[in-house]
Structure formats: structure tokens, C-alpha cells
């Protein structure tokens, strides 16, 4: 269990750096994890260069889902939409630095699913977005 609740995860869960809402925003998307009811919304603001200048998330859920969202937001600041589209499942797992079984994987990847649905301009999030 030490692995799963590394200090960084507890820290990000208790003291998230990017929790909040951006109004107005350029891109916003939200979704649930139907397995346990975790919820994440992500708002993005783009600069004139097309890069993400501000980003925030809000929602509720387990430490893994919320810490993953906070770390993910941090990692995409300054990136272009095209670059964010290339973020992979493994990138998020590397940020978390833990190994997860199939059930908790859904918690960890909810924020990526929301982010990708947002940057692809999709009407609905799909598990396809986090299969790679």
C-alpha cells in the first residue's frame, strides 16, 4: 500500500495545485467513472500561440483520481493541443509512479479521458481515448 499512496499522491490529493474553475475558458469537458462515481471537470485556456496558458480541474473522487488530475494538469501547461492529443496512458502512470490493477486504472485515467475528449472536441468521452 505504500506504493499506491506515495507521498506525492497524498500531497496532491490534500493540496492540489490546479483545483478550480476557469471562466471563461477555451475548452471544458467533464465525465464520470461509472464504476465508483469519481467525477472530473477540466478547463483550459489557450494563449495566442495556441499553447495552454492556464488549466484547472475540479471534481470529486479517490486520491488516485484527483492526484492524477492535478499531476496531469501540471504536465500539460505550455503544450499545444496537438501535443496534448499525444499524451498516453503510460505518461499518466509515469506521473503517478505506481502500478495499478484494472479497477483502479480507471480511476487513474479518468482525468486523461476527460482531457482528451476536451482537446479532441468530442461530445462524449470513450474508453478508447485511454487505451493507448
Amino acid at each position: 500500500m505504500e506504493d499506491l499512496y506515495r507521498e506525492v499522491i497524498i500531497d496532491r490529493y490534500k493540496n492540489p495545485q490546479y483545483r478550480g474553475a476557469l471562466e471563461p475558458n477555451d475548452i471544458t469537458f467533464e465525465d464520470d467513472n461509472p464504476l465508483c462515481g469519481d467525477h472530473i471537470r477540466i478547463d483550459l485556456r489557450l494563449g495566442e500561440s495556441g499553447r495552454i496558458v492556464e488549466a484547472a480541474f475540479d471534481g470529486h473522487g479517490c486520491a488516485i483520481s484527483q492526484a492524477s488530475a492535478d499531476l496531469l494538469i501540471e504536465s500539460i501547461l505550455g503544450k499545444t493541443i496537438e501535443e496534448v492529443r499525444l499524451v498516453k496512458k503510460q505518461d499518466v502512470l509515469d506521473l503517478l509512479g505506481i502500478e495499478l490493477g484494472p479497477v483502479r486504472l480507471k480511476c487513474a485515467l479518468l482525468s486523461l479521458k476527460v482531457l482528451k475528449a476536451g482537446v479532441y472536441g468530442l461530445g462524449e468521452a470513450s474508453d478508447d481515448l485511454i487505451e493507448v
Binding site: 464520470d32 461509472p34 464504476l35 490493477g101 484494472p102 479497477v103 483502479r104 470513450s126 474508453d127
Partner: protein, 409 residues
């Protein structure tokens, strides 16, 4: 004979060691009804219960993670086994029957309306007939049937004529459970698509016995059961093309099939969970995965070749017996199924006498009453072969038929 090591295979199936009465070993020739189970399948299910039993998907404890992983790993195996593009096109059901009912109740209700034509065949199992009759009664659909020739083949001229009437759905069996006929599925499906119809292939009899490749067949739906392919009862599969499954309304409502639920409404979960309400047959899913591993290790081509050798031999020997009529096409066009009548002897009596010799065959209409009506017979006796059957077993079967002939002759 081909190279299947039947002695080794038979040792994998504990039930094949039993005797029906002292000194009379079991000769199991009823795999078309259900196949026997190798020890590895039983062991996989027992291991799951002994070490990882937990409900899937919501739990975060170790057992739940293990159970979920095993359950979803089996889905990957099924997808790979039939060549599906994605495991998300694999829906777990109870059996072939439930798979077909699912399509009728969801795709059917959403897409079929008064006057729409559904094409079936005269050789369908009741499971691919009654669900469409029920929907036809509800929606005022037209059902038409591809006729079966005296040789037990589908009449393609009849099919072509029916296709001109703009069918919405063509649903047919890949392999007849009575005649053994292997229908030219790829051609029939391609013709249906050219006519603008959706296709459903009942693969209950073909999946256990032939290599089946979804990409090659290009069917929209495919249904089969695990229990006929050395897996447990209570678990089956519906394959559907992704875009069609996505557009279908859900089937049963309940846990696991939802994304969000409010007091007065819900939104459905993603594929495949959208169609899997409630706690599923977890151990059986794992057993099905083990059965697929088992069959693949032996090889579907080798199994098909073995079945073929046995049916060639069995048909040859059946011809020797006076008064025996075998239904269906020649061995080249069928799987390992021989349904026959013996003049002057009712099939139930044939089956009863064979049982005394330790031989398990089936007698009756085999859930295909219309097909028996077509051939003007109330019932047949059916012997069917699988990977664990041997040529000496066919000899035992034939000798027993001679005894029947002598008793009644």
C-alpha cells in the same frame, strides 16, 4: 486419419473415463448438444473460486482486482479467437439463445418496423427462429425463409429472389445442428450486405468445430455458446460490429450497465458493459477463456480435419446398415453430425438401445421442428463427433446399430 493425438486428448477429459454400466465405457456422441469439459477448464473455474472469488469492477481489494483482470482477460481471448477488431465488441451473454434475443430486443426493436422483411432459413434452430417470430408478432414484420434442398443445402436461387424484396435482416446458422450442413456464410453475408441488410450468424455449432474469422466473414452480429466448445454452461457471446452496438439501446437494466443514474433516468455505460447488467457468470467466463486456450493449443484446423475424418468414416459405415437414411449433404459440405432414421424403429428406441451399450446420442427434433416437418419425419437420431472421439468409437456405434436392426428386424 489425421494427426490428432486422441489418446492424449481423451486423458484431458475426466468424464471420458467413466463407465455407463460395469465394463461398458461411455461413448459420447452428443457434443452437438453440449461438449465435454477438459480438466483445465474445470480447474480454472475452481482456482478462481478458491483464490480470487470476488465481484468484479467496483471493488478495489486484491480479490476484486484479480477477478476483474481474469474476467476481462477472457474477453481479450474471445476477441482474438474470432478475430474481432476489439474486445469491446464482445458482449457476454448466457448463451447463443440469449445473444440472439438481445439482438431482437434491442437492434430489432429500434430498427424493424411494420412490413419490414427478415430472412431466415428452414434449417434454423428454434433459438434463431422464435425470437424473430415474437418480434414479428409485436412489430408486424414479414418473415421469409431460404428453402432447404433435398440434399440439405440452402437454395441460393430462393435466397436471391428473397433478397430482391429489400430485407432488413438476414439471420442464419453457420452449421446446421441437425443436417451438419456448413453454409457458405461469407457468400451469404456478402449477398445480404449488397441487398442492404444487416446479418446475424448463429455460430453455435461452427465456433467449436471450425476456424471462424470475423474479419473474413464480415458479419454484423455473431452468436455462440461456450458449452459447445468445451467450456461451461451459462456463458455465451454476442459479437457485434462496434458502430452497430454503439447505436443500439441497452438490453437489461441494472448495475454495471450504467454510467450515471438519477431517480428518474440513467445514461448507459460504454461498450461492452452497456449490455452486461448485473453480476455476470464470472467463473464461467474464466472457464470459457480456459476452453479457448485449450482448443487453440490443439488448433481449430486440426479439430475440423479430425471431425471431417470421423464423419467420412461414419457416413460410409452408416450406409452399410439396412433401412438407415442419413439426412444432410455429403461429408464435404458438413461438419461431424449424422442425423438419421432407421426404418421401422423410432429414434427414441434407437437412442435407448444405444445407451445400454454406453453410447450417448440424441433423439428427437433437436430444436428444429420445421426442418423435420420439411423432411416429413417426426424425429431423427443424431450422432455427433468432436476432438475426443475416435474411429473405434464409431465402430462401437455401428455395431450397436446392427443390434438395434436385429432386435427390430
Amino acid at each position: 486419419m489425421n494427426s490428432l493425438d486422441t489418446a492424449k486428448i481423451r486423458a484431458d477429459f475426466p468424464i471420458l473415463q467413466r463407465e455407463i454400466s460395469p465394463g461398458v465405457p461411455l461413448v459420447y456422441l452428443d457434443s452437438t448438444a453440449t461438449a465435454q469439459k477438459p480438466a483445465v477448464v474445470l480447474q480454472a473455474m475452481q482456482d478462481y473460486y478458491n483464490t480470487s472469488n470476488a465481484n468484479i469492477h467496483r471493488g478495489v481489494h486484491t480479490l476484486a482486482e484479480e477477478a476483474t483482470a481474469a474476467y476481462e482477460r477472457a474477453r481479450e481471448k474471445v476477441a482474438q479467437f474470432i478475430g474481432a477488431a476489439s474486445a469491446r465488441e464482445i458482449i457476454y451473454t448466457r448463451n447463443t439463445t440469449e445473444s440472439i434475443n438481445l439482438v431482437a430486443a434491442t437492434w430489432g426493436r429500434a430498427n424493424l418496423h411494420a412490413g419490414d422483411l427478415v430472412i431466415l432459413t428452414e434449417m434454423e434452430h428454434h433459438s434463431n427462429l422464435v425470437p424473430w417470430q415474437m418480434l414479428a408478432a409485436e412489430r408486424d414484420l414479414r418473415l421469409e425463409f431460404i428453402e432447404v434442398t433435398v440434399d440439405g443445402l440452402l437454395d441460393l436461387d430462393c435466397y436471391r429472389a428473397l433478397l430482391e424484396q429489400q430485407p432488413r435482416l438476414v439471420a442464419f446458422t453457420h452449421m446446421s445442428n441437425v443436417l451438419g450442413t456448413i453454409n457458405p456464410a461469407k457468400t451469404l453475408i456478402s449477398m445480404a450486405h449488397d441487398a442492404g441488410a444487416v446479418t446475424l450468424l448463429d455460430a453455435a455449432q461452427s465456433i467449436p468445430h471450425l476456424p471462424v474469422d470475423i474479419q473474413q466473414l464480415d458479419t454484423d452480429f455473431l452468436a455462440f455458446s461456450a458449452h459447445k466448445m468445451c467450456g461451461p454452461t451459462g456463458i455465451g457471446v454476442l459479437y457485434g460490429k462496434r458502430r452497430i452496438l454503439e447505436a443500439m439501446p441497452p438490453y437489461m437494466g441494472g448495475g454495471d450497465m450504467i454510467k450515471r443514474v438519477h431517480l428518474r433516468n440513467f445514461s448507459p455505460n460504454e461498450l461492452p458493459h452497456k449490455f452486461e447488467a448485473g453480476t455476470p457468470a464470472i467463473a464461467e467466463v474464466i472457464g470459457m477463456g480456459a476452453a479457448i486456450d485449450y482448443l487453440q493449443a490443439i488448433g481449430m484446423d486440426a479439430i475440423a480435419a479430425h471431425d471431417h475424418d470421423l464423419i467420412v468414416y461414419a457416413l460410409e459405415r452408416l450406409e452399410e446398415i439396412p433401412g438407415v437414411t442419413v439426412f444432410g449433404p455429403s461429408a464435404e459440405q458438413k461438419g461431424g453430425i449424422a442425423s438419421f432414421t432407421m426404418k421401422g424403429v423410432h429414434p427414441h428406441d434407437v437412442a435407448q438401445i444405444l445407451d445400454r451399450e454406453g453410447i450417448a446420442v440424441r433423439a428427437g427434433h433437436h430444436c428444429a421442428m420445421p426442418l423435420h416437418e420439411k423432411f416429413h419425419i417426426p424425429a431423427t437420431t443424431r450422432a455427433s463427433f468432436y476432438l475426443y472421439n475416435t474411429q473405434p468409437e464409431v465402430d462401437v456405434f455401428i455395431s450397436a446399430l446392427y443390434k438395434v436392426f436385429q432386435l427390430f428386424g
